[in-house]
């Protein structure tokens, strides 16, 4: 980051030069040799201006916009400098570049950024196989996001297509205060300008041309000036805006807005009320574009924050500190605050705010200037005092026009038995204690928890209340059910049944019966060698007297009388 910005600053110094052709215009140079070309920008101030009655035109930061539409000559020279897969050519030389679709305009803007060593504004690539441009939205931490997430534009790009609000403000905002109001036409007036074929007179614009040989004028002769000092925002060629038609830059193929009217169309297309929808792949000879840019100041004063070696986006969602049990351990983190701009940040102040100040010990730097390239350090120690979510914000206020206040979101979590973050039935402390078994207090794991609780009596996981009430009751119920099961199915458990003779106690035989009265026959068997010969019957069986035992179950015992 630092290296890139240093080279950017050098590039800036090389390309910036004063120009007297337009008031406050800043000339920048691109390309090289015979294929060098210039582009003038004017700064649009009154940051934080109010929107027009149609809710358009409010821009909370200063920015610059090219005084003229991009010309065919500029496209041709960019091509000669390596810009590829951009066709235009509806017109020639200093006439506007037209017959160019949104992605091609975006590719030209990326070329300008590349020339200065800046990040590309748009995440586009040429798909040679399918002969088309592909675009992906930037990730949130790369997107132009300070004033509302814009995933089309990169946060570190210097040149871009103007958003609808940026374009609108440059065209119609009267200026001189944030509540100055808006003109109806981009020639600083509320009545339609006079249509001309070419020229720079005030209150004129190039539109409504007829006659067969009609064409847009050279970009420098495209009518009178707008209140911001641009030319040709009304008429000549309509212009691509960066913005999606629906105002939310999230779907890369969605329809884009265009504005400004053209050399052929009527005057009302030049007005603030007129906007058009177009496929980003649409092209015709009446549709071109102009370039917008950050202010030099926006790039010169720049505050950045790093944590763990990576850039932190302003107001990015917090990365949680380690979850801890209150009073047990701490987690620490260091934030590096860096002035990555070319100029000093004059007055940087640090403050914390939020509901859980007692859970974070924040060591802030002294308020004051932060020189270009310098850093300051914020130390944060997290030690929760209670369970559940703990959060705090660090607010860094500076004169960075792009990122003030810079908000660092802090978040941590206290692990206690009182909270069950994932609501899976097992409290945070218990899950954290069994993390080695796969439990995660952040992730609902109902099957794992159910398996655990089903065998709960084997592990000491319940608190006293649970054991004495719900769990114990369940256990008792389980025991009773188990006893019944054993008694009812003794064979299953290897216990006595009607065919078993198990009792050799005292030489007697115990017999368990089931069913009605018992009839027992006894067969005497003998063997002369118990170790080597089997028993054989001796005499006939003797039937014992029937036993009256009508109960379903009963036990009988044949007692041995001798030899003792």
């Amino acid at each position: 980051m630092k290296t890139r910005l240093l080279s950017s600053a050098l590039g800036l110094a090389a390309v910036l030069a004063a120009t007297a052709s337009l008031a406050q215009a800043q000339k920048e140079t691109f390309g090289s040799g015979t294929n060098e070309f210039n582009m003038d920008f004017v700064e649009v101030g009154d940051a934080g201006n109010l929107a027009d009655t149609n809710s358009r035109g409010a821009v909370s930061y200063p920015y610059r916009i090219a005084t003229l539409e991009v010309s065919e000559d500029q496209i041709d020279k960019a091509r000669a400098n390596g810009l590829a897969n951009v066709s235009s050519g509806a017109w020639a030389a200093d006439q506007p570049a037209a017959f160019i679709h949104w992605f091609e305009a975006a590719a030209f803007v990326n070329f300008l950024n590349e020339q200065g060593g800046f990040a590309p504004a748009y995440n586009i690539t040429w798909d040679e196989d399918n002969q088309t441009w592909r675009m992906e939205p930037w990730a949130s931490d790369e997107a132009w996001g300070t004033y509302g997430e814009n995933r089309f534009r990169h946060r570190d790009s210097r040149y871009f297509l103007p958003s609808e609000d940026e374009w609108y403000k440059a065209a119609y905002f009267k200026g001189g205060g944030t509540n100055a109001g808006y003109w109806a036409y981009p020639t600083a007036e509320d009545t339609a300008p006079t249509g001309v074929a070419s020229g720079t007179d005030a209150s004129t614009a190039v539109f409504g041309l007829r006659g067969g040989a009609t064409a847009p004028a050279d970009v420098a002769l495209s009518g009178g000036l707008s209140p911001s000092g641009t030319r040709g925002q009304g008429g000549n060629v309509a212009e691509w805006l960066e913005s999606a038609w629906d105002g939310t830059n999230n779907q890369v193929t969605e329809a884009r807005a265009t504005r400004g009217g053209d050399w052929f169309g009527p005057a009302d297309e030049l007005g603030a009320a007129a906007r058009e929808i177009n496929s980003p792949l649409y092209e015709n000879d009446m549709l071109g574009f102009r370039v917008a840019s950050v202010t030099n100041n926006l790039f010169a004063k720049r505050l950045a924050v790093e944590v763990a070696g990576a850039d932190l986006a302003n107001n990015a969602p917090a990365a949680e500190f380690s979850a801890l049990r209150p009073g047990v351990g701490t987690d620490e983190r260091t934030y590096i605050v860096r002035n990555t701009g070319a100029e000093d940040l004059e007055n940087v102040t640090f403050a914390v705010s939020g509901p859980h100040e007692s859970d974070f010990t924040v060591t802030l730097p002294e308020d004051g200037p932060l020189a270009a390239g310098d850093t300051a350090q914020i130390e944060v120690v997290f030690a929760p005092t209670a369970g559940s979510d703990r959060s705090l914000q660090i607010n860094i206020v500076s004169d960075d026009p792009d990122k003030s206040p810079f908000v660092i979101n802090l978040a941590g979590y206290g692990l206690t038995e009182e909270f069950d973050r994932d609501a899976d039935g097992l409290n945070d402390a218990a899950e954290y204690g069994m993390s080695g078994l796969g439990f995660d207090f952040r992730v609902a794991q109902p099957e794992l928890v159910e398996g655990l609780l089903g065998n709960a009596t084997f592990v000491p996981l319940y608190n006293a209340t649970e054991v004495e009430t719900e769990r114990l009751e369940s256990f008792n119920e389980g025991v009773a059910a188990g006893t019944n099961a054993v008694v009812s199915n003794p064979g299953t458990y290897g216990l006595y049944n009607s065919n078993s003779i198990m009792d050799l106690n005292l030489g007697g035989v115990m017999i368990q019966k089931t069913g009605s009265n018992a009839v027992i026959s006894v067969q005497l068997q003998t063997t002369p060698d118990i170790l080597n010969q089997a028993f054989t019957n001796h005499g006939t069986p003797v039937e014992l007297p029937p036993v009256e035992m009508p109960e379903d179950k009963g036990f009988l015992r044949i007692r041995a009388l001798g030899p003792q």
Binding site: N85, S87, F99, I277, N278, S279, Y282, E283, N284
Partner: protein, 529 residues
């Protein structure tokens, strides 16, 4: 012809000393010259063929210079990477060739493509080493003379190329028959058959010299032998394009008068096919004289929020791209020429009918200058956008428009999904025109990039005015076979369309049949090449 053959034999035996042909074009040509026969009563034919060839060459992004052969200047051949001579007219004698032309031809190391007639003036010149240099020689031009029954066998009706038989139409049965003398020098691409099944070499290459033995711009219908030439252009220009076959489907003549039920029936068939497709949208329906409304005029414009707009949105949601198909697809209060109804009449060319009902191509519509064409197109364009849709391309009603109108289409849209029609005035001031059937994307001389329709449309009824079948019915297998023929061209497109009022069930067979050949339906953009 007998004289020619005798001369040929003499040449063969007189050939002495090996003259090796120079190498063929192996790097992409960066410039091309087209020379054509432009003089006499039929000079317009040469010019219109040359114009078509220039359009085909635009596919290869080669800057082209085009001029009559008579304007050839010594050394021209060395100033262009590739030169094409369009031999469209039967020249009387070799003096019709510019002085020094054949000398330059023999000396150049750049690619030269001789198309059509008159090769004999070069090949049979005893001062040239043609046969020895190139390894082949022409017998002469063989064609049917209706007055001479002995020539009936000179009808050549098909060409076999890449294992496919392609048709030579009845209006172009002639062929310059050649004999291959040295296969090591002369390579043959395709075999042409006459009606007696005799085989004749078709396109021949010998080093940097190519010979195309007929005029591939003539009579180019479906499954036509012109596809061979289109494919060989890649080699002639040294362009190593990977083989890729793409397809585009149009849902045709969709105006606000179309029942939403029909659109939803199409959606129900198209959705599971999961392909990109285009919707040819006519933003303003007009039945100016009430031809289909009991004599009462009927106008319906596309409006946002209507059930029709909703049904269109549902097609867009499943991959449909909007193509503007004119603004009204008719001309206001005029029968042009049929009934003044949208999708029936022409919009950008004045038409009439003769007493037998045949079309008369009158000319540009009075008052339709560039401004009016632009205004008319943009009014429809704005109406589509006002309904919340973003049209991406253009489709000329009935493919026919004046040159002035076509130029404006090319300035208002990045591409058109139709075919070019080239206009030319002959020596009598009569307007001549010819349609180009290109198998691949090109930009024509009006500046319109065309992603061409190449295999026609489903037509269960055919067209048989007055009982004469001018166009037989065509069903999905018909179009699939046309697409199969296109596979011989390495960068071909299968472009087709389907009218909303037909049974949508045809679509499934059509799409799957085309896909089964290896064509891929793709989204359409102006970046495509």
């Amino acid at each position: 012809m007998l004289r020619a053959r005798v001369w040929l034999l003499a040449l063969i035996f007189c050939a002495a000393g090996a003259v090796a042909p120079v190498a063929a074009q192996t790097t992409p040509a960066t410039s091309a010259l087209i020379l054509y026969d432009g003089g006499g009563d039929f000079g317009w034919l040469g010019e219109i063929y040359a114009t078509q060839l220039e359009s085909l060459l635009s596919h290869f992004e080669v800057p082209v210079t085009r001029k009559p052969l008579a304007d050839y200047e010594l050394g021209d051949l060395d100033n262009y990477d590739a030169t094409f001579y369009v031999g469209a007219l039967y020249l009387e004698d070799s003096s019709a060739l510019p002085p020094g032309f054949t000398d330059d031809l023999e000396a150049t190391t750049n690619t030269f493509v001789w198309m059509g007639l008159n090769l004999w003036f070069y090949a049979w010149d005893p001062l040239m080493d043609f046969a020895d240099r190139y390894g082949f020689t022409p017998y002469g031009y063989y064609n049917v003379d209706p007055s001479d029954p002995a020539t009936s066998g000179y009808a050549h009706d098909r060409v076999k190329y890449k294992d496919q038989f392609l048709l030579k139409g009845p209006f172009d049965q002639g062929l310059t028959r050649v004999e291959i003398l040295d296969p090591a020098k002369a390579e043959v691409f395709g075999v042409c058959y006459d009606v007696e099944d005799n085989e004749w070499p078709y396109i021949v290459r010998s080093g940097n010299f190519w010979f195309v033995p007929d005029m591939p711009m003539i009579n180019t219908g479906f499954r036509n032998r012109s596809l061979v030439f289109a494919d060989m252009l890649h080699d002639m220009l040294g362009v190593d394009s990977p083989e890729r076959h793409r397809a585009v489907l149009r849902i045709e003549d969709v105006s606000p008068n179309v029942p939403v039920e029909s659109l939803r029936a199409l959606r129900d068939v198209l959705a599971p096919l999961n392909i990109p497709f285009t919707i040819s949208l006519i933003p303003e329906y007009r039945d100016y004289f009430g031809a289909y409304n009991e004599g009462e005029p009927k106008f319906i414009a596309l409006e946002p929020g209507t059930p029709f707009a909703q049904a269109i949105q549902e097609l867009v949601d499943i991959g449909g791209q909007i193509i503007q198909h004119g603004t009204t697809h008719q001309i206001d209060d005029r029968l042009n020429p049929y009934d003044g109804v949208s999708a029936s009449d022409y919009e950008f060319y004045l038409m009439d009918l003769d007493e037998t009902g045949d079309l008369i191509y009158v000319g540009p519509v009075p008052g339709q200058d560039a401004d009016e064409v632009r205004r008319r197109v943009l009014s429809g364009h704005d109406r589509i956008k006002n309904a919340g849709f973003t049209p991406v391309g253009w489709l000329t009603p009935h493919y026919l428009a004046s040159a002035t109108a076509s130029e404006q289409f090319g300035r208002l849209y990045p591409f058109a999904l139709d075919r070019s029609i080239f206009f030319l005035e002959d020596n009598d001031g009569q307007t001549r025109f010819l349609e180009l059937n290109s198998p691949f994307i090109y930009t024509d001389n009006h500046g319109v990039k065309r992603i061409p329709e190449t295999i026609g449309y489903i037509d269960p009824f055919g067209w048989a005015p007055a009982g004469i079948e001018l166009q037989p019915p065509s069903f999905p297998p018909t179009l699939v076979e046309r697409a199969r023929a296109l596979k011989v061209v390495r960068t071909s497109w299968a472009g087709c369309y389907f009218h909303w009022y037909l049974n949508p069930a045809y679509l499934k067979d059509l799409v799957e049949g085309i896909q089964g050949l290896g064509f891929e339906f793709v989204p359409i953009t102006g970046d495509l090449k």
